[in-house]
């Protein structure tokens, strides 16, 4: 069964999203690493919507649905902020040094890399962002083969 959570566009509401991801993960027997990666990708995208999606004050509802689909973790974020396609956001340069390192775009860069796919659609006045992720954490598949500690 799908989990629905709706939050107002206020960073202080983020713990509610985090709690929903945690209980969704436990319900589906996900590892701590998988819950972390899925939750972080969602956190970065929703934080970005709250921080940059709206001009002026006033409450807006951001809706998040969590579900399983064909063995994958699925999340759909729907917001009525300015049109923004995270799949077309500029990639940060993660290869430069401490002095010149620019931090913009890091959140979306992480989100893109922590899930298997991100799709974007504009539906009327809403942005619809769909995330798909294999239930095995990136770390688990990678660490098992490259890092033995």
């Amino acid at each position: 069964m799908a989990t629905h959570v709706a939050i107002v566009n206020d960073i202080a509401q983020m713990p509610r999203l985090h709690e929903a991801v945690e209980s969704f993960g436990q319900e589906h027997g996900l590892s701590q690493a998988a819950i972390f990666e899925f939750g972080l990708a969602l956190d970065e995208l929703v934080t970005n919507i709250i921080s940059y999606g709206y001009s002026g004050n006033g409450g807006h509802l951001i809706q998040v649905t969590l579900d399983m689909a064909g063995g994958d973790l699925l999340a759909v974020i729907s917001d009525d902020g300015q049109p923004f396609d995270p799949t077309r956001a500029q990639q940060p340069d993660t290869g430069c040094n401490l002095e010149s390192r620019c931090v913009g775009g890091l959140g979306i860069h992480l989100a893109r890399n922590l899930v298997n796919s991100i799709d974007y659609a504009r539906d009327g006045a809403r942005n619809i962002v769909t995330l798909r992720k294999s239930p095995v954490a990136r770390c688990e598949s990678k660490c098992a083969t490259t890092r033995k500690e």
Binding site: F36, T47, T94, L98, V103, L106, G107, L114, C139
Partner: protein, 113 residues
């Protein structure tokens, strides 16, 4: 998020517990930059009990590392969980920050500085 500070041979060791995210990053920044402005030059962050870090927390690390570099100090992070380390790798932070697997190693390196 909880921060527990202790002093070890002139090095400030800060144990970070819980979540460093957009809600807690401002306090993390205040404490870390506050310590630097009070004259701390060598800082180790122990992440063994840290459950979560988002880009908001990573930005604080970058800011603190830059600040310490201009003051000829050092910032090292140690003891990360595998999945946190993965986020450091993805961000390119493993290459620009000093990352140690244990606190003793981080202290040794700080003593050389």
């Amino acid at each position: 998020m909880q921060l527990n500070e202790r002093e070890e041979g002139g090095v400030l060791v800060v144990a970070v517990t819980g979540r460093v995210d957009s809600n807690t990053a401002p306090e993390f920044e205040e404490r870390l930059l506050g310590a630097i402005s009070q004259g701390r030059r060598n800082i180790i962050l122990n992440f063994s009990a840290m459950d979560y870090i988002s880009s908001a927390g990573l930005r604080v690390l970058l800011k603190a590392a830059r600040e310490l570099k201009t003051q000829s100090g050092s910032l090292a992070v140690c003891c990360m969980r595998d999945y946190i380390r993965e986020v450091f790798d993805l961000s390119g932070f493993t290459a620009i920050l000093t990352v140690e697997t244990d606190e003793a190693g981080a202290l040794e390196r700080a003593a050389v500085n």
